[in-house]
């Protein structure tokens, strides 16, 4: 990794179709469905009027060293057999933005709802998310529910990349990615007709990990076969401060963007009109 690389890569036509900025925090005992509904009504209803309920999302902690070997699926300490408090899934009228609220987390999604939708700058989305974190924190204090104590952060970017379909997946991966060469040692194997690839890249100082997943998907809108390249940076926080969480999201964003540029070939960058 060359840390002197700068500035941040930018593309005029990036293949990104969705982004998520999120923070997990200490579970709030009294932040049940009723309080979440009050929060939505008071702070978010006008901007995110379309409401659904979903099961809560588990917090994932990145582990390093020998702890990676003992990395068990998330097991929570549950004292009582009470049902999970659902996650509120509140969408903007045009469906471009979704705010997700649960007992221990807040997430902001942006979705490219059609080809003409402009990709909003990261700083705009980050500042909006910071405002929403502050609104939640104020609400929690006003209702004497508690304080936001962030424990980990997540930054996810989902990209859809046009390719030739499953019959071409091996050569396509080699054309698109720097770390997929579609070679065999003796040429005995035929070309693959499927591939699901994952990578994990540790962020220095054990401050997190960039997780990358490539898989073929079919876009529902036009039944087109695409490669979905998802990049998720996750990190655990040390100070439980909202400010540190926002700073980590900046770091996670940097790893997602630089990681995307580093993982994809210059020929693809030209297709996506790389500016810097």
């Amino acid at each position: 990794m060359d840390e002197t690389i700068c500035p941040m890569p930018r593309f005029a036509r990036p293949p990104v179709v969705e982004t998520v900025l999120g923070v997990h925090f200490r579970p709030l005992e009294s932040f049940a469905s009723a309080q979440q509904g009050m929060l939505w009504e008071r702070c978010f209803r006008s901007q995110f009027p379309r409401l659904e309920e979903r099961p809560p999302v588990e917090e994932v902690r990145e582990r390093f060293g020998e702890d990676r070997l003992s990395d068990a699926p998330t097991i929570r300490w549950r004292v009582m057999d009470r049902p999970d408090v659902p996650r509120l899934w509140a969408a903007s009228e045009d469906g471009q933005y979704v705010l997700q609220i649960q007992r221990n987390g807040l997430f902001l999604n942006w979705l490219k709802t059609d080809m003409g939708v402009a990709y909003p700058p990261y700083l705009k989305r980050r500042d909006q998310f910071r405002q929403e974190l502050d609104q939640v924190d104020r609400f929690l204090q006003e209702e004497t529910i508690g304080r936001l104590e962030p424990t980990s952060c997540v930054v996810t970017y989902v990209n859809h990349i046009d390719y030739g379909g499953l019959e071409d997946i091996g050569p396509a991966v080699a054309r698109i990615l720097t770390c997929g060469n579609n070679e065999s040692s003796d040429g005995w194997l035929p070309l693959p007709d499927n591939a699901v690839l994952t990578w994990g890249f540790p962020i220095p100082g054990q401050s997190g990990r960039l997780n990358v997943e490539l898989r073929p998907i079919v876009r529902r809108s036009d039944r087109k076969e695409m490669l979905q390249l998802g990049l998720t940076a996750r990190g655990t926080l040390k100070t439980r401060e909202v400010g540190e969480a926002v700073a980590w999201i900046d770091l996670g964003h940097e790893w997602v963007v630089r990681g995307f540029a580093s993982l994809t070939r210059p020929e693809m960058h030209r297709l996506w009109e790389r500016i810097e």
């Binding site: 020998e66 070997l69 068990a72 699926p73 300490w77 999604n109 989902v158 998802g230």
Partner: protein
């Protein structure tokens, strides 16, 4: 990638995927993230916890109160959750003078304890004498026990 968090999932269909299950293989190594069978020591630990719950005031000869039944129940749920990971060593179980319950694991230079202090709060401490490391933290009801499991696994790997 965290599929539950993204909306894109609604707009796409999965392509063909390789078979995920390998139930027909005989490989016994646990892959990352595999949940094993619950630990067979759990019934013994639960009996110890019931005995702790029945302790009379002054059980330590220094006027300690009887353990709080709610705390003992919480400790039972905590160790029950930890045991679900499987392939973890049996803990030593002790009442604490403050009315809590402590679980301890020790092997070679590594030691780990988690003390359930209240119905929804526990604190933990890890020490590695070989590496001269000491770490501590806390966990609350509703939170992941991943750190606790990781420390117990560290102790187990020292044996």
């Amino acid at each position: 990638m965290s599929d539950q968090l993204t909306i894109t999932e609604r707009l796409t269909e999965r392509g063909e995927r390789p078979e995920g299950g390998l139930e027909y293989t005989a490989t016994v190594d646990r892959p990352f993230g595999c949940v094993g069978r619950p630990c067979d020591w759990l019934p013994r630990v639960e009996r110890q916890l019931r005995a702790i719950a029945a302790l009379a005031p002054g059980w330590d000869s220094h006027g300690a109160p009887s353990p709080d039944g709610r705390v003992v129940d919480a400790a039972e749920r905590l160790i029950g959750c930890v045991s679900e990971v499987g392939a973890l060593p049996e803990p030593y179980v002790n009442p604490t003078p403050g009315g809590g319950v402590q679980f301890e694991w020790e092997s070679g230079p590594r030691y780990f304890e988690v003390e359930v202090l209240a119905e929804r709060a526990a604190q933990y401490f890890y020490r590695d004498d070989a590496l001269r490391i000491e770490e501590q933290g806390e966990v609350f009801e509703g939170e992941s026990l991943g750190d606790v499991v990781a420390y117990v696994s560290r102790v187990a790997s020292a044996s």
